[in-house]
Structure formats: structure tokens, C-alpha cells
């Protein structure tokens, strides 16, 4: 099969969204008649590369070669005509049209799609149902059926299996194998390592928007992929001075639990329990969509859990509104600054916002005290601004500091950080780690979800790993190397993963 011709090749594809670089240099070479895996950590640029290939977005630079000829796709329709069809991670059927209307919209005749609907065992699905009313896994399969109907030479499956139950996943793989035997190609994006190992011929690994290697899965396996995903960082774990892993555990001044979560169920969360003590930073690691968003939603009072208990400082709590969670001392720093800040208002107002409840004097805000507290928070975080300027004009890092400053000024028991360093510069990141450590030292508790694995050893005392809606591993910072975390996050449970923290 080494002789088989290259069907599609991309060279140096890059794509930026504003200041954010989604893809630096995407190189991919897919042979005819192979199933090719595209792998990489969250935000490595897999989905962006796929969107470029399917004409969903236009790349900033780079070339796409199909059968050795340069091509450029202006829209998904033109990519489909060239023989590239994709099933997207997020369903791309128009919700308010019926399935049949969606097919007509794509100019796909019913006789063309019928065999594929049968192949995927979807005969019982009513095609006159609105797409909105059809369960998501079935929609994904229908999306696949209509992609197959155009008989694409390259079928792209972007994390399709992430939302599918096992029996439906098998149907998708059956089709993929059939595609290979017919001499066509499949690109599969999946986080599930065993799946990739079992199905794919080769894997291209992306890291930080750059292709870092191609692995032949027949001769080598998971370990090589993992080490490529980690990059040089694995060889020499750069742990800056003062990193927790090298330090003696903090003297147990006050080890009372600040937050206990027991058997929490909500959305993708199946059954999650953990304890967060005062004076510690607990890291949370998970791949995209393992239930971390649901966990933070529940803890910050954004929606009510389906079951389980949230106990704050020994008292069981029920949150109906973020106001309740803030009242109980659980405060959130989301990844998306826009969710937390009022971009048109001043830094001072943004920081003071949650305080107005406590700083009122007969309905009037006591500006003097407010100013003093805001000043203290700004100084502590070294926010680079005059406090009157609008938040919109600050850099991303400084905006994130404002979110943090808000809670420093207001006071809290547990700080919930959802990937707070996403897309901010390294210096600000280090300042944030410093602040988190200081907060822990002064007796607060911090829950830090991060998509950047080295952060666990830089900022946390302990880490838990979430996989498939449950906690699959609990590690002391010292043991939570990237390699261990990546394995655990992919559901490859390592022996002796259960290590009690700070013992």
C-alpha cells in the first residue's frame, strides 16, 4: 500500500481569526484507499484544517493539492463537487427544516441517499420530521448518509464518534472500512485512541497548529502518537521555579473541605464526586466534551444538576441562579472573557460589579470604599491600565485579570477557573499562576480546569481527570506529568493512578 497514489495533500495551511492563530502550518497527505487519523490536543487546529478542506473557511495561506493539482474551495458545495465531503462535529442540518427538505437543499435525490440510509440502518427514521426533533446521534448518521450519497473520494469525519453510542459508532466504522476497500479515503478525527488504533492506517499529529509528524499505525502505536502530541515538552518538562511539583506540600494549616461534590449528574456528567480543600488548587483535566462544561455550569449556578449534592463548607447547597452560587462563595472565571465582562464599561465598574450588593448605603453605592477595594485588586494583579478606561480596549490577558480582580475585591470561598489562560500571553499566564498560588496559601480553594496540561504541575496541588462524565484518575501534582495526564484523559487508565494528594 506504500505505492498507492496520494489523493490529497495540503502544504503549510494557516488560518488566523483576528489575533488568534488557529492553524499555523497544516500539512496533511492522504493516500487513496486509506483511513487516515488526524490527531492532536484540544485547540491543536484539527477542526480548522478540516474546515479549510471542506471550503467552510478560506485559509490565509498554503496550498491544497487534489490529485497533484492545486485547488481552492470557495464553499462547501464546491468542495463537495470536487469529491470532498465532511460530517461535522456540530450537526450541520438546518434545524427548522425536515430531513427530506435538508436533502433537497443539498441537491441530493432520494434514490441516491436511500441505500446509505439502509446501510446505516436508519430505515425507521421518519424523513418528514424536523431536524430539530431528531436525536443528535441519529442526525449525525443522517448527515453521514447524505455525505455518502455524493460518493466522495475523501470522506472527512470530524469527531463524529464523540457523541455516538457504541452500536452507532460501529456502523460508522463499517462504512469507513467499506470506503477503504473501494479505494476511497477517509480522514477521521477522534480523541479515542483505541478507535484510531483499530481502524486507521496512518495518523497525522498536530500540535499548536503545526503538523509535527505522521505515524504509521501498523508498525507503531499509541505511544508514538502521545509523544508527538506532547512534543519536546515531554523530553524536558520545563517546570519553572516555584512550581508546585518540586515544592514541599504546604503545611496543613486548615485542611477542611471547602467544596464537596457528591454523585453529581447533569448533561454529560454521569457521576462525579470529589473534594476540594481550603488552601489548595485542584486541577481538572479533560478532553473536549467530557462533562467539564456541565460541572462548571452546576457549580456556578448556571443550571441545576439532575442529581447529586454540592456541599460548600459543610453545608449542602442548591443553586437556582448564579446569584445563589456567588452568595455561597462559589465564583467563576470563564474562558470566554466576553461572558464575564461588560466590555463597554470601565475597569473600575467591572471589578466593582458584584460588590454593589454589599457596598450600598441606603441604595447609593459607597464610591470611596469601592474605589479603595478596586485599587487594591488592580495593584495586586498589576493590571496595566488606568482604572477609568474601557475594558474593551485592554488586551486579552488584562481582561482576564479584570475578571479575577473582580472576585479578589469581592471575596469568595471557592474560585472556579474554566480554562482561564486560554489565548493569553505567557507572562500574564505566569502572573495568574502566582495569584492562584497566593490565593491558595491564604486559605482559599481553587478549582482550575485547563486544556494546557503543563499548567497542572505549574499551578496545582492535585489533579483529577474527567473522562466520559466520570472522574477516572486522581493524581498528586508530582505524578501528574503530561504523559500520564494525556493517557488518563484518553481513557487509558494507568496503573496506580489513584494517589492521594499531599499525603
Amino acid at each position: 500500500m506504500t505505492d498507492s497514489a496520494v489523493l490529497l495533500e495540503t502544504r503549510g495551511i494557516s488560518k488566523t481569526y483576528g489575533a488568534v492563530v488557529a492553524l499555523r502550518s497544516g500539512d496533511l497527505s492522504v493516500r487513496a484507499g486509506e483511513i487516515h487519523a488526524l490527531m492532536g490536543a484540544n485547540g491543536a487546529g484539527k477542526s480548522t484544517l478540516v474546515k479549510v478542506l471542506t471550503g467552510d473557511v478560506a485559509p490565509n495561506s498554503g496550498t491544497i493539492l487534489l490529485d497533484g493539482k492545486g485547488v481552492r474551495f470557495a464553499s462547501p458545495a464546491s468542495a463537495r463537487q470536487a469529491g470532498l465531503s465532511s460530517v461535522y462535529q456540530d450537526v450541520s442540518l438546518v434545524p427548522l427544516l425536515t430531513i427530506a427538505q435538508n436533502l433537497r437543499l443539498s441537491r441530493i435525490a432520494m434514490p441516491e441517499v436511500r441505500p446509505w440510509i439502509e446501510e446505516l440502518e436508519l430505515e425507521h427514521v421518519d424523513l418528514n420530521e424536523l431536524a430539530r426533533d431528531v436525536p443528535t446521534p441519529i442526525l449525525h448518521l443522517l448527515d453521514l448518509a447524505q455525505a455518502l450519497a455524493t460518493l466522495p473520494r475523501l470522506l472527512i469525519l470530524d469527531e463524529v464518534t464523540a457523541t455516538l453510542p457504541a452500536d452507532l459508532t460501529e456502523r460508522v466504522f463499517r462504512v469507513a472500512r467499506r470506503w477503504r476497500t473501494e479505494g476511497r479515503s477517509v480522514v477521521l478525527i477522534s480523541h479515542r485512541m483505541p478507535e484510531v488504533q483499530a481502524l486507521c492506517d496512518r495518523a497525522t499529529v498536530l500540535r499548536d497548529g503545526t503538523t509535527v509528524g505522521v505515524v504509521d499505525l501498523a508498525s507503531s502505536g499509541q505511544e508514538e502518537i502521545v509523544s508527538l502530541m506532547l512534543g519536546e515538552a515531554a523530553a524536558s518538562v520545563v517546570v519553572s521555579e516555584g512550581a508546585v511539583a518540586d515544592r514541599e506540600p504546604a503545611p496543613a494549616v486548615d485542611r477542611r473541605p471547602a467544596l464537596e461534590v457528591r454523585n453529581l449528574r447533569s448533561g454529560k456528567l454521569k457521576d462525579v464526586s470529589f473534594t476540594l480543600h481550603r488552601g489548595e488548587v485542584l486541577g481538572l483535566v479533560a478532553l473536549e466534551g467530557q462533562g467539564q462544561a456541565d460541572l462548571f455550569d452546576c457549580l456556578s449556578g448556571n443550571h441545576s444538576p439532575e442529581g447529586g449534592e454540592i456541599i460548600v463548607q459543610g453545608k449542602p447547597r442548591k443553586f437556582r441562579h448564579p446569584h445563589d452560587a456567588i452568595g455561597a462563595g462559589l465564583v467563576l472565571v470563564p474562558a470566554d472573557r466576553a461572558l464575564a465582562l461588560l466590555p463597554q464599561r470601565s475597569v473600575r465598574e467591572n471589578i466593582a460589579l458584584p460588590m454593589i450588593n454589599s457596598l450600598r448605603n441606603w441604595g447609593l453605592i459607597r464610591l470611596g470604599i469601592e474605589r479603595k477595594r478596586v485599587r487594591a485588586a488592580i495593584d495586586r494583579l498589576a493590571i496595566d491600565t488606568r482604572s477609568q478606561s474601557r475594558v474593551k480596549q485592554l488586551s486579552g490577558g488584562n481582561q482576564q485579570k479584570v475578571t479575577l480582580a473582580r472576585w479578589l475585591a469581592t471575596g469568595f470561598t471557592v474560585l472556579l477557573c474554566f480554562d482561564p489562560t486560554r489565548g493569553i500571553d505567557i507572562r500574564t499566564k505566569e502572573q495568574m499562576y502566582g495569584v492562584l498560588r497566593e490565593l491558595a496559601a491564604s486559605g482559599s480553594a481553587v478549582l482550575l480546569f485547563t486544556s494546557e496540561l503543563p499548567e497542572i504541575q505549574l499551578a496545582c496541588d492535585r489533579a483529577i481527570v474527567l473522562f466520559g462524565g466520570a472522574v477516572t484518575a486522581e493524581l498528586a501534582a508530582h505524578d501528574a506529568t503530561e504523559a500520564v495526564l494525556i493517557r488518563a484523559a484518553h481513557g487509558l487508565v494507568t496503573g496506580g493512578g489513584e494517589v492521594e494528594a499531599a499525603s
Binding site: L96, L105, A293
Partner: protein, 337 residues
């Protein structure tokens, strides 16, 4: 039996026929109209062809305005210039039809309708090309067209041949079905039905429902939006001509109230302001309801200005009732991760 199959069976627990379920709001609007009509006949037992006739002539401009607004909103846009475009069509026709024969007036009507479609299409082109939000583009355009209307006819005046004015008022078959109603149904059906049955209509709804998904399905978004605005402009021009038929003269300021009235009618008629959901029947029926209510209040001998109050309360109540459906569907908002 696979797990997925079981889940699908569970989904089919609704017993109401799908046709009724999908058009529940339109049917509800019709039921409301019947209720208001019954009320009208009860308070005014001698309700007859003359009243039907005046209701149709009175509701015709609003019905066209509602259809114009609906064709834009269904595709996910909003058009605040509907009223102003109606005014331009109205004064153009009134100024140039005056002292001319019936044939000339028909040619002028055709030109006005073409001009309306182009003016509407311009909204779409500007919104698409400049990426300025639709609401801003059409708000600005409403001032432009409002000014143009005043330039064409500074004060109410002009006119049209009697034969033209009587298009809407006569009745071919029975006095209970005035020609105005036939005209409305005929024009809307002639334009809308072919579009609705073609891929263009599907694309229009798709763009209104989910732009990204529509793009991925191979829909070219820009042209579809232009189409929806052009339809809006066409129906707005129809509304302007209907206004001329009902009042007999051209008035540069007459159109202004129709923008917000049209939005009220489409909301009452079940067109989702978020786009992609609704029909044209609902807004037309709603336009008749909104015309009937002030008339009823006059019959009751109360101040017709209460009409505004009643209308406002009605819209809030109807939209609240309609809001129950998605609530029962139990879709919850989520924190973006």
C-alpha cells in the same frame, strides 16, 4: 432492536397529526380571527357585505405590509423600511396616474412594483456587502425613502383613474367576497407559491433558521438574502398601491405607521423574529384581526384609541401563549464552554 431505535420510538409520543402541530400558530391565528369576527357579529347583528368590504379595503395595505415584512424576517432579516417604501410607491402612483387612463395606470403600477423590488433588493445588497446589521441598513433606508416620498409629493394629493381605484372595491362573484380579497390572495399566491415550492424557498427558510448549516448544505447566503429583501420590496410596493386604492390619493406620510404595524402582524401571525419559522397566511390573517379590533371599538361606542391598547395587550398575550410551546419542549440554554 438497537438502543437508538428505542429512543426514536420514544420520540413519537405525540398523537396530534403533524400538519396540525407544525401549523398550530397559523391555525390559532385563524381561530382568533373567527372569535373576533363572532364577537363583531354579536355586537353588530346587521353585519353585511358593506362591512366586509370596508374591512378588506382597510386591511389590504397592512396585509401587504405584513407579507413584505414576513418574507424578510423568514430569511432571518428585518426590514424597517417597509412603511417608507410603501409611501414612495403610494405617492409615485398617485402623482403619475392623475389624469391618465386605466391602461397607463396599469403600466405605472407595473413600474412601481419593479421599482419596489429593486429598492428592496438594494437593502439586501447593502446588508450583505457591508455586513452592517440589517436593522441599521433598513432603518437608514427608511429615512432615505421617507425623504424621497416627500420630494415626490410634498403634501397629500394626486389621484388615480376611478377604474383603477375600483379594482379592490368591486366584487366579481358575491358581495361577500370583495375583489380586494381576491387581489390579495392572487398576488401573494402568484409570487410566493412558486418560490415556496422551489429550492429557493427552501433556501430562504434555511438561511433564516441557521445560516451556518445552510451554508454547509450548499446554499449561497447572499443571493438568498437579496431575494428575501426584493420580495419584501415588491410586497411593500403592492401595499403602497393598495393604500392608493383605499384612500384615493397619495400621501407621503401615510406609510410610516405600517412598519411597526407589519411587525405586530407577523408576530401575531406566528412568524418568529429569529427567522426560519412561520408562514404568510398567519400574518395576513393577523392583519385582518388588527384592522377589525379598532372597528369593533367604534361599534361599541368606545374611544377607538383603546384599539392600540387592546392590540398591544393582545400581542403580548398571544406571544406568551406561543412561548409555552418551546418551554414544554424543554430546551435549556447552556454556558458556552
Amino acid at each position: 432492536m438497537s438502543a437508538s431505535g428505542v429512543r426514536l420510538e420514544g420520540e413519537r409520543r405525540f398523537t396530534t397529526p403533524r400538519l396540525v402541530r407544525r401549523n398550530a400558530w397559523t391555525l390559532g391565528t385563524c381561530a382568533l380571527f373567527v372569535a373576533v369576527m363572532i364577537f363583531t357579529v354579536v355586537i353588530h347583528p346587521s353585519y353585511g357585505p358593506f362591512e366586509v368590504h370596508s374591512l378588506v379595503v382597510g386591511a389590504l395595505p397592512l396585509a401587504f405590509a405584513a407579507v413584505a415584512e414576513a418574507s424578510v424576517v423568514l430569511a432571518g432579516g428585518i426590514d424597517l423600511s417597509v412603511g417608507a417604501m410603501m409611501a414612495v410607491a403610494n405617492v409615485l402612483a398617485a402623482r403619475y396616474m392623475l389624469h391618465h387612463g386605466f391602461e397607463t395606470s396599469l403600466i405605472i403600477s407595473a413600474l412601481v412594483l419593479i421599482g419596489g423590488s429593486l429598492a428592496g433588493g438594494l437593502n439586501g445588497v447593502v446588508a450583505w456587502r457591508t455586513r452592517v446589521p440589517d436593522i441599521v441598513v433598513t432603518l437608514a433606508m427608511s429615512f432615505v425613502w421617507g425623504g424621497v416620498a416627500l420630494l415626490i409629493l410634498a403634501q397629500p394629493g394626486g389621484g388615480a383613474p376611478d377604474q383603477f381605484l375600483s379594482i379592490a372595491s368591486g366584487s366579481f362573484f358575491t358581495p361577500w367576497v370583495p375583489n380586494g380579497l381576491l387581489l390579495l390572495v392572487f398576488v401573494v399566491a402568484l409570487v410566493w407559491v412558486p418560490i415556496r415550492l422551489s429550492r429557493a424557498g427552501l433556501a430562504l427558510y434555511a438561511v433564516g433558521s441557521d445560516r451556518t448549516a445552510a451554508f454547509r448544505r450548499g446554499v449561497t447566503i447572499g443571493p438568498v438574502r437579496i431575494l428575501s429583501y426584493a420580495l419584501g420590496g415588491f410586497f411593500a410596493a403592492c401595499g403602497g398601491l393598495a393604500l392608493l386604492m383605499s384612500t384615493g390619493i397619495g400621501s407621503p406620510l401615510s406609510g410610516t405607521i405600517y412598519t411597526l404595524s407589519a411587525i405586530s402582524a407577523i408576530v401575531l401571525g406566528g412568524v418568529s423574529l429569529a427567522g426560519g419559522r412561520g408562514s404568510l397566511i398567519g400574518p395576513i390573517v393577523a392583519a385582518f384581526i388588527l384592522t377589525l379590533i379598532p372597528a369593533d371599538l367604534i361599534l361599541l361606542g368606545t374611544d377607538p384609541n383603546y384599539g392600540q391598547v387592546v392590540t398591544g395587550a393582545l400581542i403580548v398575550l398571544v406571544v406568551m401563549a406561543g412561548g409555552l410551546a418551546p418551554f414544554l419542549r424543554r430546551r435549556r440554554p447552556r454556558l458556552a464552554a
